[in-house]
Symmetry: C2
Subunit: 198 residues, 2 copies
DNA sequence: GCAGGATGATACCGGTCGGTATCATCAGCG
DNA sequence: CGCTGATGATACCGACCGGTATCATCCTGC
């Protein structure tokens, strides 16, 4: 086994992983070289390649981890309001709003990676599409539960709001994202009011 | 003066510029090297550096050009419905919807560049922020003209929809963007109905 | 104490990056 | 014609890229 708690603390793999996650998010994937990651994690390039087969796989692993944490948070939040889909939707948007209000935030790691990675053969590509596909599906499920007139339409509209809020942070326009929750509420209300017209 | 119409057609500068624009948009900025641009434009790296001082400036120039064309299209569209801000808003969203339905589309060049360029000293940075700031302002102006209860709030909401529609294309999730116009209409309607409550 | 596996350090590989210098060519114009 | 300025071609620069091989070290379980 690895050492327990020498001067370097966690295992090299964990140090590399968390360092890579932060650097990829803050500076971008292509802007960060493996040597920089290794040095920042107090190890060497060789150490990195003992824990990860390639930079591309490290990127994919990072996004898989983000996906896991994202749904973990999502589920924990949902379970606070069982049987109350409206509340669950609101809490989801509150989560986005909170993240987006963080001055250190730089949007959604998945979306940013999608912009940088144009080659469909990159292992991160399917991670991204699966994640966002699942997000859309989960939104649609909540919209169905909440009794929207056109649940999948409402889900798509909310999806656009979420993605718009995240990317607008990257644009350096911090204002609009502050109103993402109100926009969501307005759209949800509209879909509930016309409930009986279908 | 340059030659008029030899076998190569337009001037090297224009060939380089349009080639760079397409490659930057399709493959990303960092993914495309100056040598590739030059070769694709049927010239050499030296020819590129005779027309542009650096790659960074070429990128900035590309985005400045996009900005100019964008507002040109926007203004032309506005002038088709003088005094009808609602129609102008709808046409703007129809424009986005049309672009986003193009299978070759890969989102908004400005937003994609913002993701790739994390260094604030890059000359393209202020082009991006100025462009998006202006977009937000123009939306707010139209929302004021249309008589919205809270015009700047509505403008922010519409801004999120526009950006969300563009980035969702990059995510490989083509569905939601198809409903961007309907979402916009719903939000506008809501802000018009509660007009007298303020 | 000793063996062995995990780790760190260093040097190296071929390739590509952005950017430059030099020289040949070719068009248009006096 | 010959000149000039724009262009193309080639070689080169230092730096960095992702990835690998090799060797020294050091902790740990036996």
């Amino acid at each position: 086994m690895a050492r327990k708690a020498a001067k370097a603390g966690p295992s090299p793999r964990k140090r590399i992983f968390s360092t890579a996650a932060e650097l990829f998010y803050r500076r971008g994937i292509r802007a960060v070289g493996v040597e920089t990651i290794a040095a920042e994690a107090s190890t060497t390039k060789m150490g990195l390649y003992r824990s990860f087969p390639s930079k591309d796989e490290l990127v994919a692993e990072w996004l898989r981890d983000h996906d896991a944490r994202f749904w973990q948070t999502w589920d924990a939040m949902s379970q606070k309001h069982p049987g109350d889909p409206r509340r669950q939707l609101q809490t989801a948007f509150a989560l986005i709003a909170k993240h987006v209000s963080d001055p250190a935030a730089r949007g959604c790691p998945m979306a940013n990676a999608a912009v940088e990675i144009t080659d469909n053969r990159h292992p991160a590509r399917k991670v991204i599409e699966t994640h966002k596909g699942k997000l859309r599906a989960r939104l649609a499920q909540l919209c169905r539960e909440v009794g929207a007139a056109e649940p999948s339409l409402l889900a798509d509209e909310l999806f656009l709001l979420m993605e718009g809020a995240q990317i607008s942070i990257v644009l350096g326009v911090r204002g609009p994202a502050r109103n993402v929750s109100r926009a969501a509420d307005t759209l949800i209300d509209s879909h509930l009011q016309q409930k009986r017209s279908g």
